[in-house]
Amino acid sequence: MLWTCAAMLLAMLPHLMRLPILLGVFATSAVIWRAVAAWRHSKPLPTWFRLALTGVAIVAVLSIFQSIIGRGAGSGLLCVMSGLKLLETYRRRDIFICLCLSYFIITIEFLFSQSLATTAWALLAGLTVTAALLNAEDRTAKRGSRQHFKKACLLLLQAIPITAVLFLLFPRLASPIWGAPNSGEARTGLSKTMSPGSISELFIDDSPAFRVTFDGPRPEPQDSYWRGLVMWDYDGFTWERSWAFSRTPVHFEDRPRPSYRYTVTLEPTDQPWLYTLDTPIEVPDNSFLTTDLQLYQSELVSQVLSYSAASIQGFVVKPEFSEIGRRAGLQLPDGYNPKTLALGAEWRSELGDDQAIVRRALNWINSDPFYYTLTPPPLGRNAMDDFLFNTREGYCEHYSSAFVVLMRAAGVPARVVTGYQGGSYNDIGDYLMLRQSDAHAWAEVWLGEGWVRVDPTSAIHPSRVLGGLGGALPASRPSFTSDFWGQFGKSWDAVRNFWNETFLKFRTGDSSSSLSAFGLDQFDQRELSIIMSIAIGLLLGVTLLTLVRKGLPIKSDPARQQWDRFTHRLKRAGMTIPECMGPRHLAAQATRQFPDRAEEIQNLTNTYVALRYGHPEQSPQLAEFARAVAGFQVTKQVK
């Protein structure tokens, strides 16, 4: 019983770290109570009390999660119910049900995290639950727990080949039967709106956003801009995407050859947009490139996703609806930021040329005391006025927002782009790693033929960068140092990338899957299933033979072994030999039955008797006897 409690606790561990405190405490105390009760042989709790606890549990889950459907609520309910089930487990059958529930709990964890660490924990927890199962099945209670654990490990090792075959060959579903689990919890990452101050918490988050492997050259760090969302609409504080432009597909008049081809492995975001290198021109088939060059797919990215694309640097896409785009790029809300509007108008009248206005703005940022800091003072209602004329402290969101407002005020169509910038190259895994702390916001202005990227944050004078390297100026992102921890960090991330690429992405039947290594990628799913069944049957047979052979009979002496071989051949030829027949008797009967081999039989028997019963110094050589027996052939007599 203690084993069962320990196994269930181990299974619930990751859930407890994620569940609300109340439910976690509930489940844990139920398990611990049961363990203590088992140790002290207390009586079970009365039924009414348990029913009351069940009611309380359901009410708690409902009130916290507002439903019992969904990942979070489901896992919470499962943990709590398993704990309650444990409280009423006093028979062997109930123990089995509890252990099955533990297996469930372990597997449910994979809905939340599929990392290498989680998988390793799951294997360990599964092993413990299996050991508890073996312990429950041991009715004589004479075998120790360590023996059960070793047996569970042995079962696991013997099960590995069959598991590999199943995993590689089992047919997968082309599309889900029912939808992806809704998370109920927020993921980190960029959101679909931007307002100055909204992504500050991302700058301290070093968790990976996505990894990119390049098929060919890599962009320079200062060109490493990864587009996410393009925001047009400003209400005085928040930037949002344009409803119309986000649904209009892009149209390339002449598509140039891309300079970079790459594959992005995106960590789950629970959002539908994908990131591409500026400027994308080739995108995956099942995705949608909008006219403002955002990339969307139909479902939320709730699992690690890999996709390939191609981009070209410095290409100005000629937009389709230029008039509409220009007008949308000049939209400004009324009644906000009058000083900024005045400055913009002043520049327009003074300079008149779009390019000059842009240069003027960038020079202004560079020369005037604008500071970069991750902890700027808050802004008031006229946020841009406050920023540009009062505080002059902020980070990329402030600068890009202010720049775009200023450009719009000066009559230059502009828009905000959010995404990631920079990244660090992991030479062990040969990929570029973009972290959440690389999140960035920049601007695009309409110059000449189309939209051109301008990053106002990079115009800040380097001497005015205050603290915080995350999300800072391009090309200032430090790469990993070559000390031990840097190497270790790189290796570990390379392992995680390998895990994502090879294991999590695996689908039976994919043409690019690792099955091609076995030459099996020509078969379709049905044929693969047949191959799988045959392979499993073979493996079971081999395992059985291995198991059965290990328990050899206790070795008799070698002479006896040869004699047994001899009698076995006689038996195969049709002679019936009772158990206790001595060698001489046997020889006599054999001679009667096979008169043509009489002499050989006699010689063999004499040799055997001498070997076995005679004096050691007079006995013939065992090897000769063995050879003689090997050469003895007798066929079944046809009567």
Partner: protein
Amino acid sequence: MATNQVRDPALAGDWPAWLRRFLPTLLGGRRNESLPIEIHRKRILTLPTKRGVLFGAMLFVLLVGGLNYANNPALLLTFLLGAMGLVSLLHGFRNLLHLQVVALRSQPVFAGQPLHLEITIVSPNARPRYGIRLGSGEKAPVTDIEGGGQKEIQFEYPTTRRGWLKLSRLRLFTEYPMGLFVAWTWIDPAGRHLVYPAPEINPPPPPPALGFNEGHAVVSGDEDLVGFRDYRAGDPPRQIAWRASARIDRLMTREVATPRSLERVFDWQELTGMDSEGRISRLTAWVLASARDESPFTLRLPDRTLGPDAGTPHLHRCLRELALYRAPSQSRDSAAESRS
């Protein structure tokens, strides 16, 4: 109390021969095997238990969920658990393989009492066997056998009639290691076990010891007189010495030395008006009572006479004869009892 599952012997043996040839193991084709019985691979059957089915259902649900979400780690765990279940099937099979049943012993009991049997199982190779059980169900006795060693399992078998008892098939099974699959085998060890007749409850007292002159009361002269003693309640009136009692105004009885030949005789023919079984049970009761008193007796049956003798071996000989006695006209004995 460990009770073997009792199968009606008639059920197992009446399949037509051609069917038995095709499904020997299932229909108990092996009858009356001489010990030692070796359980080789053709004898062992396996099936999932109820728990195994539940485990399979759980795996199915996990599989469907994993396939739906294309969650590779979940699929890996599901496949791993399924594979471990399959491998445990092989382990269960191997657990029974090559076991040898070498002995089946019992002590005789009276009809109606459960027969206590002890079956000895040997593990011939160096591998220990765990969780070997006899019978079926939750309460079947369980034992572990260490490698190369042997163990005895005690179990009981109900008895109803006297005579030779042939056990129906016994079921050796194991649910080792995970309880998901059960591997079992049927064994039908040869050998019969003796069941003594049930003694009559509250029998009348056994006939008194008779002297040389059968049929007459024991009143002898003074040849055998040993002395007088005080009258005790229950002394037969014949024994009272009236003249001596009159002399001393107290009742006295004659004490007579019991001659060696004055032993009890239990005669079949004397029990008139009873059927055979009634006679046998009454004779059994008398025989037991005499053995308790340690007094010698003679048992006279229509076909043989045993005694006069006293002591345990004589008792068991008599009980055996009573158990096996068959009147010439009886035809109702079952085939199991008639094998001798």
